[in-house]
């Protein structure tokens, strides 16, 4: 246990840390003279955009810097001991645990997640196999995994990204660390899970005196949960102090611009735009009725594994082979509307989006687009279906949704070449340049390949591609989820502008209610494949009726952000 002195002294002390990364164009200083300290039980928030050196600092502390990086200067002390910063394989880091951003990559793809949890438990303690298994199930339950016994035998690819992250958190917590470094732990998770997981970390920190470093680009989250905040930019800590102090009286212009760009659930709602003409109810553009999509689970765990589960937990081990991802969903979209589809990961909202754009075939139900059942066309033939150019999609991950071997120009020109009116190369060039201008993408960037573009630029290319054919319905699947908060604000403004310019209809899939509030007239709330509540955005968010919606609304992080001091904030 911790001594009296240990409780007063900082648990982790970073002094003048400098990390260089070797690249073909010489050394880049990724971390410059960073000094931070964390006391036991304290939660320190480290905030900044991608590339600001947050993660590199964490990797240096935990001792797993990539081969190209080296610590040039500085010292790190943990629990009174100086850590060896030259090694690359962890080592002498007992009591330190880290959670990464990409959970699926961190899990062994060919081993059931429960077994991986048991492995971690047995390496760090003397539990027997049975005890470790029981503890593992208990941990899975703690990170809010439903049916932990069945999930124990699931492979990472059978779980959603959110579930994988919960498993990772369970593994990190399994060893009862004294310091937990959480590197964007809830990025990509829905707000309710985010809340549950952060609650769990906060509770553990309080109970066990566990110190936590929360690395995030989400200022609202950090502001709500952390006692102190460090703001990083360009490898340096530009501002550090008590959370309330930093948020209410930011000294640095950079901090102010971050605060200004953070969407807040309690402001910024757009007045609902009524597009009904002369009191007529407009004809629905899209009418979805009784839509279902089933997935067959292939053999959850081996035969022996199932038998074991059945013996040890007779109640829960019932085999369910069919999962209904989308369950009897009915809704309508009128032309010109912007409708948000919210729900947590695994609620079926992405499946619903994929059904509507006809990437996958429905199991039952109909999708009527302008009165024609497009659900009856097989997904394989949908590429050439007449409605194709009318329904387009903006994908969640701007990097993964661009062909790595096509330039930005080719990506934007592709839909025009395939489905647009036949035109010469000259005209195509003009049209693509116009599109680039519409999404505010510099024409010089058109010749670049995706890996030469920033996240925000890739997002613009994705949007330009989606609007190239002037579709009437645009399905946006979490278009801003993987972007930095300042870029996110700019992209949301762009989407709002494009919508009014081209009279687009938006189906906006998101887990972020604050973002939805900014852009949607109406909201559908989805849970476990069903739409549980729908209504006008303002009404639904201020007076939710379904308990799940209430939970969602309550889970939005509310940092006490004062706007009075940020009038001069520049936007990115």
């Amino acid at each position: 246990m911790m001594s009296e002195i240990g409780a007063i002294e900082p648990l982790l002390e970073i002094e003048g840390l400098c990390v260089n990364i070797a690249s073909r164009r010489g050394n880049v200083a990724a971390v410059r003279n960073v000094s931070l300290s964390v006391a036991p039980g304290e939660i320190l928030g480290v905030v900044g955009e991608s590339g600001s050196g947050k993660s590199v600092t964490a990797l240096a502390v935990i001792g797993i810097l990539p081969a190209a990086a080296c610590v040039a200067q500085g010292r790190v002390r943990f629990a009174g001991r100086a850590l060896d910063l030259t090694g690359r394989h962890g080592g002498d880091r007992d009591g330190l645990a880290i959670i990464f951003q990409n959970p699926r990559a961190a899990l062994n793809p060919i081993r059931p997640v429960g077994r991986q949890l048991v492995d971690a438990l047995r390496v760090h303690s003397s539990l027997s196999m049975g005890q470790a298994t029981a503890r593992a199930v208990e941990l899975l339950k703690q990170v809010r995994i439903r049916e932990p016994v069945r999930r124990f035998w699931s492979y990472p690819f059978e779980l959603s990204g959110g579930m994988c992250q919960r498993v990772m958190i369970a593994i990190a917590l399994a060893c009862e660390p004294r310091l937990l470094i959480a590197d964007e732990p809830t990025t990509g998770l829905d707000v309710t899970t985010q809340k549950a997981i952060i609650d769990l970390i906060v509770a553990l920190a309080a109970r066990r005196g566990m110190a936590t470093v929360l690395i995030t680009h989400d200022l609202a989250l950090a502001g709500e949960r952390c006692s102190r905040l460090a703001v990083m930019q360009g490898g340096q800590v530009v501002e550090i102090g008590a959370t309330a102090e930093v948020l209410s009286r930011p000294r640095e212009p950079y901090t102010r611009s971050l605060i200004a760009a953070t969407p807040r659930a309690d402001q910024g709602a757009r007045p609902p735009e009524s597009r009904t003409l002369g009191g007529l109810v407009p004809k629905p553009l899209l009418l979805v009725e009784g839509l279902c999509r089933d997935y067959r689970l292939r053999n959850a765990g081996g035969t022996a594994a199932r038998a074991w589960a059945r013996l040890s937990h007779p109640g829960e081990a019932r085999r369910i082979d069919i999962v209904r991802a989308v369950d009897n969903v009915t809704f309508r979209l009128s032309a010109g509307e912007s409708v948000g589809l919210v729900g947590e990961s695994g609620s079926g909202k992405s499946t619903l989006a994929a059904l509507i754009v006809r990437l996958i075939d429905p199991s039952a139900g109909s999708i009527l687009f302008r009165g024609k059942d497009i659900g009856a066309i097989r997904a394989r033939d949908a590429a050439r279906a007449p409605h194709r150019r009318e329904i387009q999609m903006v994908f969640q991950d701007p990097s993964a949704s661009l062909n790595p071997r096509h330039t930005a120009f080719a990506a934007i020109a592709e839909p025009i070449r395939r489905l647009g009116p036949l035109a010469g190369n000259r005209q195509l060039d003009i049209v693509v340049r116009e599109l680039a201008e519409m999404v505010e993408l510099a024409p010089a960037l058109l010749t670049r390949l995706p890996h030469q573009l920033s996240g925000g630029e890739k997002a613009r290319v994705g949007i330009a591609r989606a609007i190239a054919l002037r579709p009437s319905l645009l399905v946006l699947d979490e278009p801003t989820a993987s972007l930095d908060v300042r870029v996110q604000a700019v992209i949301l403004d762009l989407l709002a502008k494009l919508r009014s310019e081209f009279e687009l209809t938006y189906l906006f899939v998101s887990h972020d209610l604050a973002v939805v509030r900014r852009i949607c007239d109406r909201v559908l709330v989805m849970r476990a494949g069903c739409i549980v509540e729908s209504g006008m955005t303002e009404q639904l968010l201020s007076a939710p009726t379904h308990p799940y919606t209430k939970e969602l609304v309550a889970a939005i992080p509310h940092a006490v952000v004062s706007r009075e001091h940020c009038h001069t904030a520049p936007t990115g």
């Binding site: 073909r24 081969a67 994929a354 754009v357 990437l359 394989r380 033939d381 949908a382 590429a383 050439r384 194709r388 150019r389 387009q392 999609m393 994908f395 969640q396 991950d397 993964a400 949704s401 661009l402 062909n403 790595p404 071997r405 592709e414 839909p415 395939r418 489905l419 890996h451 994705g462 591609r465 190239a468 054919l469």
Partner: protein, 277 residues
């Protein structure tokens, strides 16, 4: 592990060295008939089994043919057998593997079982069987070498396609009006090409060995055609009696070619790996 960290820095040099060797071999193959100092088929018993000299750089064989000229001429035959076989295997294997991975279902099952069947045989024995049954002509050696190499390409292509089949950029391509053939040809295939090219380079060495091996055991190119495998086989009779030059020089060139393609394959793999750029 310690050694592995230095690999990225070592590989490019070894890779470019092997590339120079491959280009040199290719050039020799093209111009051999014009630079060969002697007629590779001309026998002259008077100078049989003479050690290397200024006239016969690599010495002469049992019937007095110039080993140097024969090695040069053989380069063209050996490289073209290997290259044609690899090209055939590449085209058939990449197409079958891509289709198998993309469409799945019964096509995948059928192609998968076919590869399993081919791979169930010891591959060299299978090649021997094919040549023995079909007759030992150059064309049949090419077909046999191609057939035993096809499964590798099928498996590599299929695995790469499976990883990318449902990637968002493929979905995006479908949404903007690309039917399955276009998605396959213009979006998936270019992205699975790099590992296939690496495989082809590694395969070249195997194909050279295979062709030479078939000839060595008498199932390949027929004498007196100059071919590395036959020349090593001819020389094998003189290992004990001490006429080392008859087998050594064709063997060295054969080894050099195999090594060059192997190292070039490793170099290409690093070149295509974005992590190592």
């Amino acid at each position: 592990m310690e050694f592995a960290r230095h690999l990225p820095y070592m590989q490019p040099r070894a890779g470019s060295g092997s590339l120079i060797l491959i280009v040199a071999l290719g050039l020799v193959g093209v111009v051999a008939p014009w630079i060969a100092p002697q007629d590779p088929l001309a026998t002259n018993v008077a100078v049989a089994l003479k050690p290397p000299s200024s006239i016969h750089w690599f010495g002469t064989d049992a019937v007095g043919r110039d080993v140097f000229s024969r090695v040069l001429i053989a380069t063209r035959l050996d490289l073209s057998i290997a290259a044609t076989a690899v090209a055939l295997a590449f085209i058939v294997g990449a197409a079958a593997g891509t289709i198998s991975g993309y469409f799945g279902g019964w096509i995948d099952a059928a192609i998968g079982r076919l590869t399993d069947t081919i791979m169930a045989f010891p591959l060299f024995v299978l090649a021997m069987g094919i040549v023995a049954a079909a007759g030992n002509t150059v064309a049949n050696i090419v077909y046999a070498t191609a057939i035993i190499n096809i499964p590798t390409y099928i498996r590599v292509a299929r695995a790469e396609v499976l990883v990318r089949r449902d990637a968002p950029f493929i979905q995006a391509a479908r949404l903007v009006g690309n039917g399955p053939p276009r998605v396959l040809a213009f979006h998936l295939f270019p992205n699975v090409l790099p590992p296939l090219v690496v495989q082809a380079s590694l395969n070249m060495s195997y194909a050279i060995l295979n062709a030479a091996g078939l000839s060595f055991i008498g199932l390949g190119v027929r004498p007196p055609t100059p071919e590395w495998g036959i020349m090593v086989a001819d020389g094998a009779a003189f290992i004990i009696s001490g006429e080392w030059w008859v087998w050594l020089f064709p063997g060295l060139v054969l080894t050099g070619a195999v090594l060059a393609f192997n190292i070039a394959g490793d170099g290409l793999r690093d070149f295509f790996d974005p992590q190592k750029r």
